[in-house]
Every structure is written in C-alpha cells, then in structure tokens.
C-alpha cells in the first residue's frame, strides 16, 4: 500500500460511517448480517488511521459507531473498551520486550486509573443515555482540539522526585533512530498518578482507551521520552480497560455481535497501520482524524440534545 492509500483509508473511514448511518436511517437496519461486516470494515480502517494518527481506536470508535450506527450507546461503550483492550494487549508483549514499555512505570499509574475507571464505568452506566451522549460529544470535540494543539516533547529530562525515586521510575532503551541507548527518569509522580485517575474515570464513563490523554500525561507532565510514553500508555490501557470492561461485562452491556467483529477488525487494522507508519504522512492523517472526530463529536452532541436523533 502506498502512502496515498493511507489517506484513502482515512477518507474511506468517514465514507463508511456516513453510508452506514444513511442506511440505518433508511430503515435497512433489519438485515442483521450486514452489521458485523460493516463493523469489521469500519474498525479495520479505524485501526489503520488510529495508529498513524497516534491515538487509540476507542476514541474514534465510540463517537463514530455510537453516533452513526443503530446500536445503543451502552453496547458501543462496552465494545469500545473491549476493542481498546484487545488492541493494546496485542502490542504490549513486543513493547515490553523492547523495553519501550516499562512495567515499573505502569504499575502505580494503572492502579490509580483502574480504581477510577471502575468508578467511571459505574457512573457511565448509571447516567441517562442523553446525558452521556451529550457529554461524549463535548469530550470528543475537546479531545480533537487537544490533539490539534498538543505538541510532543522528544527530548525530556529533569530530576526524579522522591516518590519517583522510591518507585524507581526510570529505565533505558535502545533508540535505533539516534543510534544510542537512552536513559530516562520521570518526575511529578503525584500529579501524574492523579492525572491517570482522572483519565481513567473519563475512560470508564465513555468506554474509551484514552491514549490521547495518557501520552501527553506521561510525556509532557511526567517527562518520559515520547517512545516510552506511547508504549507505556498502551500497557496502562490494557490494565485500566480490563477493570472498566468487567463492569460493562457484568452489566450485560457487551454485545458479541458488536464487540467481536470490532476487536478483530481493529487488531488487523492496527497491525497494518503499524507497518504503514514509517511511510505515511502522519501529519496529514492526523488532521483528517481531527476533522472526523469533530464531525462525530458534533453528531453525538446533537443526538444527545435531541436535535438530530
């Protein structure tokens, strides 16, 4: 696949969502068999675009599927957590072995995030759907703006704080692009733990993986190198989403017809996206992702407010 094909994937994503929405609205939703195929294609494209755009699949899946496809938001959020979980679990072993993801860094942050995401999932399943849909629309639009404005810091550093020293939040990894081994340590540990509690709560409420927030928190706030931040974010999501996913599973809010084709589609798409990452103009794809998120956010907001049901 050439770089331009990745751009087509982003455009095809928007077109697929739009066609599915129009089809559902036209009363064709009674044909059950088409929806697993639509979800598989949609999440396959999402997987490609999400990896190249540098975000998790869940933050695109929940607003797009929840706003344009006929499934109730409860099942979409349940599926969103499961697919983010499956996608990050698939990548985590390789990232741990390469020492880009760091288990010691992940443990305190994931613990705070897990407790909060469990609470968030309970809250999310207790609130009226219209409230969650409206808040989702606002959140997704805010995330799109955050992605637009946030810059990453490649070269970070600074001294570790006392808690960071106690928890030994430091590591090293080989960076082939620089041709040397990078030593790193993090700081602002308490603020970082608090941030992950907040991120976990929102992830639980909306069924998102929240990689869009994890990476800046690790990179810009705690000072982890960008590669360590991206890799460790995936491992954090794999643990945080497990606890939130159990709340949705136990509530009965995971519908296999929605969740399983989606997790398979995003797993395959993410693998292809990872291969395309080096040859694709990521900045262009990222801009398309932001536009798609803004459209999905507006749609979720209008649906939540009852303006465009």
């Amino acid at each position: 696949m050439k770089p331009s094909s990745s751009l087509r994937a982003a455009l095809a994503l928007a077109a697929t969502a739009w066609c599915a929405s129009a089809w559902a609205a036209a009363g064709e939703a009674q044909a059950w068999w088409i929806w697993p195929a639509v979800l598989f294609v949609l999440t396959f494209l999402l997987g490609i675009v999400a990896v190249i755009g540098g975000i998790g699949g869940g933050v695109l899946f929940v607003p797009i599927v929840g706003s344009f496809l006929p499934f109730h938001l409860d099942f979409v959020r349940g599926a969103g957590l499961v697919l983010a979980l499956a996608g990050t679990l698939a990548a985590a072993p390789l990232l741990l072995r390469s020492q880009l993801a760091n288990l010691r860094l992940v443990l305190p942050l994931a613990l705070a995030g897990s407790v909060a995401s469990t609470a968030g999932a309970v809250v999310g399943l207790s609130l009226p759907t219209a409230v969650v849909q409206t808040a989702l629309g606002v959140t997704v639009m805010a995330v799109a703006l955050l992605l637009w404005m946030t810059k990453s810091a490649e070269n970070v550093g600074g001294e570790s704080d006392a808690l960071g020293e106690l928890l030994r939040l430091r590591g090293e990894f080989d960076d082939p692009s620089l041709g040397r081994r990078i030593d790193w340590k993090t700081h602002r540990t308490i603020t970082g733990v608090a941030s992950f509690a907040g991120i976990g709560f929102f992830g639980g409420v909306f069924g998102l993986g929240a990689g869009f927030a994890n990476v800046p928190a690790l990179n810009l706030l705690m000072g982890a190198p960008l590669k360590v931040a991206v890799a460790s974010s995936g491992l954090i999501i794999s643990i945080i989403n497990s606890s939130a996913a159990w709340v949705y599973i136990n509530r009965g809010a995971v519908m296999p017809l929605v969740a399983v084709p989606s997790l398979l589609g995003i797993s395959l798409g993410s693998r292809l996206g990872a291969r395309l990452l080096r040859i694709t103009p990521a900045a262009v794809v990222r801009r398309i992702v932001i536009v798609v998120m803004l459209i999905a956010g507006v749609r979720a907001l209008l649906r939540g407010l009852g303006v465009w049901p």
Binding site: W33, S238, R251
Partner: protein, 136 residues
C-alpha cells in the same frame, strides 16, 4: 549491555501476556465463526437482534432474558455467550501476568512493586466479581 533492573519481571510479564492474548484471540475467532455461521445456536436469535440492539442495556436484558454478571457461563453452550469466553479472557489476562511478576519483584527485594502488583490484582478481581455494575 547492562540489563534494566526490572528485566526479569518485565520479561516474564511479557511472555505470559503474549500467550494469554493469543489464546483469547483464538477463542474469539472460533466463537465468532460458530456464532455467525449458525453452526451453534445463539441464545438471542440473530434475526431478532435488530429489534433490541438499540435498547438500553436494562431493556435489552428484560426483553431477551439475557443474563448479567457471571450468568453468561451457564449459557456458554450458546454461540453468542460463547463469545463472552474470549472477551472474558482478554479482560482477565493481566491477572496471571501480574501474579507471576510478584515473585520476580520479591526476589529483587522490590516489595513496593510487588505490593502494587498485588493491589492491582485485587482491583481487577473486585471489578470482575460483579460487585460494581451500575444501573439506571
């Protein structure tokens, strides 16, 4: 090359996670095939799903007689709830990895890391137990 101080726990965690994730993926693929091909009957007929998939979860459970909590296990002979086995494996796979990492941390005298891993296991076990479900 000097190994990182948490190399042991991290490598063991990675190895167990790799095996567990592959198992969960394999179960999910097989269960989905049985579900969509009709080789194994579902609890909720596929033809009737379009009438209920836009309902909130409470109404869906009421209309279909579908279980909540761990009730899906007694329906695992139906293809839709067999899919829950794959999903549950994905959601549980971190637990044995964390449990296996604890002795590795302890061997290195890293009691704080071991305690964090143990606490994480307790949080995941509490979430999986069905204590927290929410409801409107």
């Amino acid at each position: 090359m000097r190994p990182p101080p948490d190399d042991d726990a991290q490598q063991v965690y990675a190895r167990w996670l790799d095996h567990g994730t592959k198992l969960a993926l394999a179960v999910s693929v097989i269960a989905l095939f049985l579900y969509l091909s009709g080789a194994l009957a579902p609890w909720v007929p596929l033809e009737s799903l379009p009438r209920v998939w836009s309902l909130p979860v409470e109404q869906f459970l009421e209309r279909t007689g579908a279980p909540s909590g761990w009730g899906w296990i007694r329906l695992a002979g139906y293809s839709d709830y067999l899919n829950y086995a794959g999903i549950a494996l994905f959601a549980l796979v971190s637990v044995p990895c964390l449990l296996r990492a604890i002795p590795c941390f302890l061997r290195r005298g890293e009691r704080l890391q071991a305690a964090l891993a143990a606490a994480q296991v307790l949080v995941l076990a509490a979430a999986a137990s069905g204590i927290f479900t929410g409801g409107r």
